[in-house]
Symmetry: C2
Subunit: 254 residues, 2 copies
Amino acid sequence: MKILITNDDGIYAEGIYKLACSLKRMGNIYVVAPDRQRSATGHAITMHEPLRAEKIKFFDKDFDAWAVSGTPTDCVKLAIEALVKEKIDIVFSGINKGPNLGTDVLYSGTVSAAIEGAILGYPAVAVSLADFKNVNYDVAAEFCCIVADIISKNPLPPDTLLNINIPNCKKENIKGVDVTTLGVRKYKNSFIERIDPRGQSYYWLGGEVIDEKNNEGTDIYSIKNNCISITPIHFDLTKFDLIEQVKKWNIQIK
Amino acid sequence: MKILITNDDGIYAEGIYKLACSLKRMGNIYVVAPDRQRSATGHAITMHEPLRAEKIKFFDKDFDAWAVSGTPTDCVKLAIEALVKEKIDIVFSGINKGPNLGTDVLYSGTVSAAIEGAILGYPAVAVSLADFKNVNYDVAAEFCCIVADIISKNPLPPDTLLNINIPNCKKENIKGVDVTTLGVRKYKNSFIERIDPRGQSYYWLGGEVIDEKNNEGTDIYSIKNNCISITPIHFDLTKFDLIEQVKKWNIQIK
């Protein structure tokens, strides 16, 4: 199995190291990841400047690894179309430090990288550890091998991928593995205004999560209850069931 | 009607000017847009540095207008949550120079800004002129008034928006207005490798569109046939019909 690994926390993040080391036992590892923190870059690509891809020593390992000056989506495109000469079997993105749940997946570089893998026709998985503090990636990294093994035997349909969130706890404390929908994440007090030493204002994006009702069956509910969530994802944004309604408006260009 | 206008080509682009001037006759205009070209930024948000919002003179108009140092998504968030004190009725993003069709909407800052409007609970429309050369925004700008009027009378359901592409031609040459699905856009030869004066390689994202079969009913087909395409969009990436199949895999954490 030839496994392409990327992330959005940057190639020197602990999560991608743990993921690569764990998946090593499943096959050959190719790491192509941003040269720095690129969280919340969504599905951005770099069109107005060129990309650099530097072959690097990946920690203490001899995996083929490139640090790329672009976004997670750039990394997957560049890996598959230019850097990695072998035919990739699966794309893993992660392990992200922090959850990627519900509506937030739209902003996530981790999930977007996996979406790009699926767009290019490869099985793809995004993996996030649902915590920011005292993180331990070992359980999540081990679970990725289980997932890689299952996907190799049960191919995903075209244009789909999996978004996985894993609680930050010991294996024995994980209560189960749920297949979920994306829940709803909303924020309040998103911006904090500050004044610089020259009297000019600027804004920090902040915001607290509003505790929306997220029922059983959503990824947010599962993580709250210490279960792993696996959400099947697609990327066709067409709202099919609105087409007939909009047709009835009979919009004309007068 | 209080109309928030943004784009991804930057606040000094011709397309946003034409859009704002045209929509003026529908109500009050608030322009909050990136201070520079931010195409292809997808749904990126700015978390690791603060945002600046400079109140500017918008060409020869007296609209309230702010140039923001962030992405199109940042602009919509910041406008609604901090800058514009009035309650907005609708968000327009555009008029983009170049099409936003099919799979490409994932990369589009124009569409992502409108998606952010919908996430925040506002009716939202993304508008693109389907050409890069000899662009004339007049027909598209006029059509936006028709759309604004129709949406004010026929509310969009929550969590949905419209993605509109308009041919770059005279009004009499537009063959109709189609309500469409997103087609499939794929590219080949995406990266062009170059060597810098110091012998180091770098990569430009390029690529030609592969002429995929895009049947009648898709946005790509409509634009090819000189029709306006209106695609209803949502942003729930859950692949619902895959949930039962993944459940059958019975993934356990051993």
